[in-house]
Amino acid sequence: MSALQGGGLGSAAVVGVGAGARRRTPPLMKVLRRPPVAFGLTVFVVVVAMALLAPVITPSGPNDLAILDRLKPPSAGHVMGTDDLGRDVWSRVAFGARLSLIVGLSTSLLSAVIGTLLSLVAGYYRWLDEIVMRILDGLMALPGVLLAIAIMAAIGPKVINIVIALTLVYLPRCARVARSAVLVVREHVYVEAANALGAPDRSIMLRHILPGTLSPVLIQATYVFATAVLLEASLSFLGTGAPAHVPSWGGMLAEGRVLMRNAPWMTIFPGAVLALTVLSVNMIGDGLRDALDPRMRK
């Protein structure tokens, strides 16, 4: 928590909000108490708990077949019903949360970290800037779904490959955000001063420029989390995402689509949990933006 605030105040100072303009109450805490943000945090914590406790809170394994219990509507034994192979939908939804969260977290973390480091180096050594940005522009010149499908088609349906494909999709977007921050920060007098004092390049980049990029990148990373969860579900829905034995919300929706008339619960529940998860992360993202982006402060 304190790391987040440090980033926020650091960037506020950079943009020229003087110390006197700081409030007594940390804006982050205030924002966290707003109803939409509090709602988002609560839902997100529930989804994380669902993923962690999946084996404890579900009646059967996500891939346990029960042919006699095929296509049963929701009941006390199967709160979300069963699918065409008799698998418990609730178990698959709970275990599916693991995939979504792992993919969302790894993708946002990797694209934020690599994107920031790349833009630090490119923004500091200007000759590199042109090359790196051209390559990133090329990656950004494709709709994310299409790029991800092409990469998955080449490297095959594995969970680690989903993370690789999605990182390649979102890395350029994070790098863009970080780069615009680097371009502002590197012109500040204190960077020039550090340079004049003979500080090594690495220390200028990491200790003087990096802090100023943290809060915009953090905000961006939250949105990447939300869209990565959506994109993974889309890929799995299309059959180019998670492998068949890994329960995924998108894959469940693809199975439900065919049986929509007989078993609507196969479509309704996984989709609703997916939508709620993405909604919660987006709400947290909006809250972080209001708290950390100095332009949003009144």
Binding site: L139, I149, G250, R257, D286
Partner: protein, 314 residues
């Protein structure tokens, strides 16, 4: 202006080159030999040799890339290994449903997005504003394919108002096409409408606080005219940029939406090509979309000229 256009076209070509390299290497990274994937287990060495020569695989990779990209620039995307026809022809056969879907979804996104954004900005701080923002938040978070499935359940299965899936060709009557397109276009366009609505609201709120709006109001102009002619026109520049990005997202989204609604378009062709390991078609489709995307961006930048006389490109 002419030099600006020339420079933009050149930089477009540079971006396409990067896209080409990315796509080329992604497809080349397929584990194992493409030929075994295409011919199966029982291919004779002679067949493999022939195919390798036909796909230029016997050349070193820079030569392979040069041959392929040279063709792309001239409009030759190679041949489908599965359908045995030129890739461009395969794409063209599937173009109509995709183009109509993208057009209809853009229409939904832009009208709904700007409309809701203007309403929210004008009613700033009221329940209406709050409701619009909640709808926009939902639009950002609902997966398009789930929204599509829910709409099929309600409007096709339960109420039976609209066809559940498929596409009605324009040659069979425009009314039929529209009936088939309503649900896919709304499902696909809704999320981008949300993005556009948020941007329109924020941008219009800024513009409404400007001096020239106060002047227009104090001249006694009717409020609707102040908002639409004076404020909105100035607020539209950032919105246009977002619309450009939205169209690109929609172009990718057709792949998912065409699968949900069983529309036989170019997006389905991409998925079919993945399943058939028809890499030339996949490569060609990706390159084609990148080119369309680059053109849209150029058009967006040019439309700034029409909207804001202060913008000059040289």
């Amino acid at each position: 202006m002419a030099t600006y256009l020339l420079r933009r076209l050149l930089s477009m070509l540079a971006t396409m080159l990067v896209v080409g390299i990315v796509v080329f290497f992604v497809i080349r990274s397929v584990p194992g030999d493409v030929t075994s994937a295409l011919l199966g287990q029982d291919a004779t060495p002679q067949q493999i040799e022939d195919l390798r020569r036909r796909l230029n695989l016997d050349q070193p990779w820079p030569a392979q890339f040069a041959a392929w990209f040279g063709g792309v620039v001239r409009g030759d995307l190679g041949n489908s290994t599965y359908m045995r026809i030129p890739v461009l022809q395969a794409l063209a056969q599937r173009l109509e449903p995709t183009a109509m879907l993208a057009l209809a979804a853009t229409l939904v996104a832009v009208t709904l997005g700007i409309g809701l954004g203007v309403i929210a900005a004008v009613r700033h701080g009221t329940v209406t504003d709050y409701a619009v923002m909640v709808v926009a938040m939902l639009g950002l978070s609902l997966p398009t394919f789930w929204l599509g499935l829910l709409m099929i359940m309600l409007f096709a299965v339960t109420l039976q108002w609209l066809p559940a899936a498929g596409y009605g060709a324009l040659s069979d009557g425009v009314g039929r096409t529209v009936r088939y397109l309503v649900m896919p276009a709304v499902a696909l366009g809704f999320s981008q409408a949300a993005v556009i609505a948020r941007m329109t609201r924020a941008s219009l709120l800024d513009a409404l606080g400007e001096d020239f709006v106060r002047t227009a109001k104090s001249k006694g102009l009717p409020p609707a005219r102040v908002v639409l002619r004076h404020a909105l026109r100035n607020a539209l520049l950032p919105v246009l940029t977002v619309i450009g990005l939205s169209i690109a997202t929609l172009a990718g989204g057709v792949v998912v939406t065409e699968t949900v609604f069983n529309i036989p378009g170019a997006g389905r062709l991409v998925i079919e090509s993945v399943q058939r390991r028809d890499y030339p078609v996949l490569q060609g489709a990706v390159i084609a979309v990148a080119a369309v995307y680059a053109l849209i961006n150029l058009l967006v930048d040019l439309s700034y000229l029409a909207l804001d006389p202060r913008v000059r490109y040289s």
